[in-house]
Subunit: 185 residues, 4 copies
């Protein structure tokens, strides 16, 4: 099973990138799992403005994301909550990809995660973030994950500083891969 | 009362721009109402990536939107539904403005509208679109408006082709201005 | 494949019951599909108040719904939009069933539908209605269906009055059964 | 200013009732504020099934809630999250009241709160809970409040056990009353 993992940020020091990296490390230890850990800078695209797709105009970043998704059996996306909702960067990429047929998210198992320095870890935003994925027919894993107090969550080496977080992510990773296997390929 | 009106698109032929323009015309006929009908190209900003604001870095488009909002008593925003949710362009602008203190949307009455060629006019998307406005403390007018079959809704001169739409927008405009006046200035 | 179908109402003349009945008739014509067309009066339960479940206290209506769900491979639920959101009757049943382990909705494919005399058919409410199903790990079929102008949609015999509605429901039924088959049993 | 306060539960030991009681105590200490602290048992109503209202049929509990709301300038409602969403009991009451004209929630400032023994305090549910209030034109206070670890939050006398909770609720109460005063009466 191949899982595409990325954090929705290109900033150094983003907690969401850090959580993506640490989650990728945990997923890699699972038997039968190959991880494609991407950097979001590979996928960045100009703002989508309701343009129609003529078969050539999809921007390179969106095309790259579409291809990497199509090569993967599933994706784990770690995205910040901004103002109670989805990151514009992520929504922008989703909207570009929705021009393709078939839509690359259709029938794709997706694990949505979030990290924030606050006490709720972005959990409100996850419910807003999932809406376009649901609309496009992705299989959003029901156990979305929000990491609170993210500023204290990682060591300098990018590993989980709190044993309970590592344990939770391991259980989440196992639950998600079981979920992915529950769909006929 | 000064109302900022804009459609969230810079595309020629956008139904949401057309609805913004036609709504601005109706609002202008109301007694005591001044309309600032903006083109979204004035507000376009690069993608927001969780950056911190150091007092100088807000992009010019976001700064322009913040200033125009601060000069207005209320805003009417016409924004497309993409994949069941908010336009990334609009979310992006909202996130940039949320760095300012006070947040320009706080306590601001907002009329949210949408147009689409489909039968539902983008009504699902309006509920997703309002979330960041609610989170930031805007007063979202409860009677959001979705215009279905938008491809048949406008004349070549940009006026409402269907008498019932013009009537609905006039009632909406009157209801919204009454709503705006219900807040202490 | 066995599909449990019900409208969330016990009122005579409910459009949602009518849509459930007409949808059941269409589903029954599909090859390999058995329909369990239930009346919601079988499932009615007292209001759930955060009670804990001691293995005996689940009310008879909730127990009946749980059993019928467990016998089915999937469910089609037709539920009205009230005030932009989920019917309290449906939410009440979902909350009762969520006390069981495993939760009967987990991994169950669900088709959500709505009917209303208005122009939007309850489409806003479907997105609110799906949230607890998503939270409990049901597989909500992405193409939720809203029937507008429901007061003109049915003949006296309870059949679809408009040919395009019958066609849409047939396509929906075929899409949903394909979706159900995409999960490993 | 008169504020109606209630927890959406009739169970002894409900954390949401406890939070309602403790919040009522804090509100009562504010200058110019009168609290009507209700018990939800006064408002309980049979399940709403899309019935039409003939002017006499509204159940007594719903009628009582409507009257108490109409006597109040604002309301603070403390309601549990069940399965990521609104309590059926609360939704049921809202749907009954929506039959009245004018709708008692229209233009009414509402503070939504939640308590749970979990780490997120029901914050996801608050966003689902607010939807029907928004749809009916209530002014939902933007700073909704979720109390995590509610099993450790109260003393035997029903006071806040954690000084920081008491401080937060006091700030919340002050912010909410300022919000209520921002509307013209």
């Amino acid at each position: 099973m191949r899982i595409l993992v990325f954090g929705v940020s290109t900033r150094e020091g983003s907690y969401n990138r850090a959580l993506a990296k640490a989650t990728a490390s945990v997923l890699e230890t699972l038997s039968g799992v190959t991880v494609d850990h991407a950097d979001f800078s590979e996928f960045k695209s100009p703002l989508y403005d309701g343009d129609h797709f003529d078969g050539t105009k999809l921007p390179p970043g969106a095309r790259e994301l579409a291809q990497r998704l199509s090569l993967a059996d599933a994706a784990a996306i770690v995205s910040p909550e901004f103002n109670g909702g989805i990151s514009a960067i992520l929504k922008n990429s989703v909207d570009w990809l929705s021009l393709l047929r078939p839509v690359p998210f259709r029938g794709k198992p997706i694990l949505l995660m979030s990290a924030s320095p606050g006490q709720f870890g972005g959990v409100r935003g996850l419910w807003h973030t999932r809406v376009p994925f649901d609309a496009l027919g992705a299989h959003v894993f029901p156990d979305m994950f929000a990491l609170p107090n993210a500023h204290q969550a990682f060591t300098d080496q990018g590993e989980f500083a709190r044993a309970e977080d590592k344990k939770k992510i391991r259980e989440l990773a196992e639950g998600f891969t079981t979920f992915v296997r529950s769909f006929k390929s």
